[in-house]
Subunit: 477 residues, 2 copies
């Protein structure tokens, strides 16, 4: 049993060093590898397969709301990036610049897209003429580049994969409705597919997207008590439309500016899955997103009939994403490996099980074992996957709720942040000075002004002036 | 009927000006739009939906052969690009260079990937240690950049979308087998899904990929008699492995170099579909790849019951990709539009049809009309789609065969190329001087040395020396 020990020992315990645990999991579960390109990662098959499932699930949901996929150029000419003042200020410091094409210097340098608002606006300005052209509900799946100084796999890298939706509407109301609709779609996806509860709310002006009128966000709590912004949806009003001249002639024959939104989710979600569900044995994947939902491990596989039975079981379970591990490693090694990779259900089957017409099911999330009759293994696996999905969400919700605190004074706030990692709910007067001061003192930022407001006190936790909003605060990735 | 006329008149006839016809179709069928980024295009929903179907079909076929998807960085440091001598010579003149990250100049400039051999090799050198790690069968879907001087939508653009497969094997035989396997997969896909017949063969050394030992290709013939390289599969031997030091310890405990392949298909295929199947009414899409296979056009849709019936039919036909055009345009306009967009089958249904319990089916490819009973419309549509798919392939094959000529003298070769656009089959001695001379004289390049060789004569069509190969020649996109 030396082999599986070696595999397990290679992970740092999350209680000892959470950051190291995270790095160990992404490497040992073979999700990524570092590359020779600083700050960029290689996403390996086990990692990319998770992203493919995320794409499939999100894309289906987008299309159900009428969204169509398109593809915009990878480059943005500098003059285009500069058209919207706030936007260029937000992004110009962190883009990669292309200055030469082949052997020639470019007349105008271009950046590799950090996000594509300017390209969509440039296109919409040519493409939209009449109210009949609206709404435009476009999305693209692509990679973007932001020149980050410090990087971590999935959480912050110089290149990442994402989707960016960009819509144009005839009215402000419609744009606001779409902004909220997509935020809710994201939240439902996180909860129902990733088993990850999120707080829905609005960003403060300080934290909103460069160029947006309003940014909405979903915020999740990681196992170490730090927050992770997991998806954002922006209402641009007609700011970009005015900067780019995107006008349409309305039913009343008047020329009007469109109202726009954008919304995005990224490979960061894979980091969230790791940090919400993982444990000291490795990754724990929610069944709905797991590339392999069931692994069948034959015991004493060299004995006659065992491998045949394992592959027969694979057929029986073929409506799940199922694999047989028939490699020549020991069963113990296979157990550890399937745990490291987060496969939700393990089926163990050996000569004695076959004789008794049973198999052993093992849950990845709780390590619970149960013996089931082969006659009903299909139903039992289905039940177990459903239960795991449900329990993982509940467990994450409980952890989040147990690590959500309130504070009414700055002293209490600081003590909480320092001693009890998690969300802090506290009242805020609405001015940026208090936000800045809180960040400076505690390292916590405003995560969002939740849609579900609570009246914790009447006064701003920082300055004591009358409060206007309850805010979720926290240290964040 | 002025409206539909306007739409149709907007297309140049392909016999008058094929290049203009092509441009008209990509614009009027709303496949692409030009962008503010020179040489880059905006792929609009109707174009991107075709690409999504191509991706889905190819990806499924790749995975059935054991291929896994991954994602490599978008950038290649200059030193990495330079590791394989032929490769850098082939690509360095046509890459886009990133020289600044944020406000800082980079210590080493990087190019935006024109293809990712160097990145995969760099990764494999770290990732592969033992024969147990082989084969590695990886693929990625991404965009690549090549700094082309003259560009045309889908056919040649500075950025395009593609997949690139990169595999590593223990033996030369296995690598060659995979190279041919993927070429055959591509050919089957073109014929069975895109209804596009292709010639399978090997490229001459002059035309092979920079760094490859052998390049295999599938070549299709467009409606104007020009050839289009539609997919390539390369055997690298151990050349890249030696340049990058990709070694593994084999079963005999000896350290050996891996043998590698790569293979790719691109958004160029959309250009091929247009130029193989399109006509003067616009796009003609093979049913297997059409985003919408059936459009239902209600006639006199304001009459009671017509729209209801149209949507009822949509339900009946829901196992196809089906849409109802209930816009307030005239039926004639809708007919023209559905033809422009290449939808394979149109269903027309009006009050009289409803009374007679029938509908009219119209084939996009032949414009043939037939009246069918509503009771059996599901079967009839299925039959019709199958027939269209089959007929389109046959028609394209016939066109290709009718435009394939032979030549035994240079004079005959030149006359054929100038007067009868198409493939020319001619013998070749195997030396590059003759290839160069033929290109200089006629503009035709060697397309491939087909697997199915024929003995047209004993002598090279150019120099008259003994011939070693029969070659397909042609002017090409």
């Amino acid at each position: 049993m030396a082999n599986e020990k070696k595999l397990v020992e290679a992970i740092t315990s999350m209680d000892v060093d959470f950051a190291q645990w995270y790095t160990d999991v992404v490497k040992k579960a073979e999700l990524i590898d570092y590359s020779s390109v600083k700050g960029c990662m290689v996403i390996k098959p086990a990692g990319y397969a998770i992203w493919e499932n995320i794409q499939k699930e999100l894309d289906k949901r987008f299309k159900e709301t009428g969204v169509e996929n398109v593809y915009m150029p990878i480059f943005i000419p500098e003059s285009l990036l500069q058209k919207e003042k706030d936007h260029v200020e937000g992004f110009a410091p962190e883009v990669a610049w292309v200055t030469h094409g082949g052997l020639e210097p470019l007349q105008e340098r271009m950046c590799v897209r950090p996000t594509s608002e300017t390209l969509f606006c440039d296109f919409y300005a040519r493409d939209i003429h009449s109210y009949r052209d609206l709404p435009r509900l476009y999305n693209q799946w692509c990679s973007v580049v932001r020149w980050e100084k410090t990087t971590r796999p999935f959480l912050r890298s110089r290149e990442f994969l994402w989707q960016e939706g960009h819509t144009a509407h005839a009215t402000a109301e419609e744009a606001e409705e779409r902004t909220i609709q997509m935020l809710n779609l994201y939240a439902d996806f996180c909860e129902n597919v990733l088993a990850m509860p999120v707080i829905r709310g609005r960003k403060t002006d300080k934290e909103k997207f460069a160029g947006a009128e309003a940014t909405y966000t979903i915020e999740a709590l990681m196992h170490d008590g730090k927050a992770l912004q997991s998806g954002t949806s922006h209402n641009f009003g007609d700011g970009f439309a005015k900067a780019f001249g995107i006008q349409f002639s309305d039913k009343d024959n008047k020329l009007k500016y469109v109202h726009q939104t954008s919304w995005g989710m990224t490979t960061r979600l894979i980091g969230a899955i790791i940090m919400v569900h993982g444990d000291d044995n490795g990754l724990v994947l929610p069944p709905a997103i797991a590339p392999t939902q069931v692994v069948i491990v034959p015991i004493q596989q060299k004995k006659e009939g065992v491998l045949d039975k394992a592959f027969e079981l694979k057929e029986v379970l073929s409506n799940f994403r199922v694999k047989v591990d028939d490699s020549d490693k020991s069963p113990g090694w296979k157990f550890s490996e399937s745990e490291m990779r987060g496969i939700p259900v393990r089926v163990e089957i050996g000569p004695r099980d076959i004789e008794n017409k049973e198999a052993v099911l093992v849950r990845r999330d709780t390590h619970e074992k149960m013996t089931v009759s082969l006659a009903e293994i299909g139903e039992k696996v289905q039940e177990l996957l459903d239960t795991i999905q449900k329990d993982m969400l509940e467990r994450a919700r409980k952890h989040r709720d147990q690590h959500t605190y309130t504070a009414t004074t700055l002293e209490e706030f600081e003590k909480t942040v320092n001693e009890k990692p998690g969300f802090v709910k506290a009242m805020w007067c609405g001015c940026q000075e208090c936000e800045d001061k809180i960040k400076e003192l505690t390292g916590a930022t405003s995560r969002c002004m939740p849609f579900k407001q609570e009246q914790i006190s009447d006064k701003c936790v920082c300055c004591g002036k009358p409060a206007t909003k309850m805010v979720y605060w926290g240290r964040a990735y």
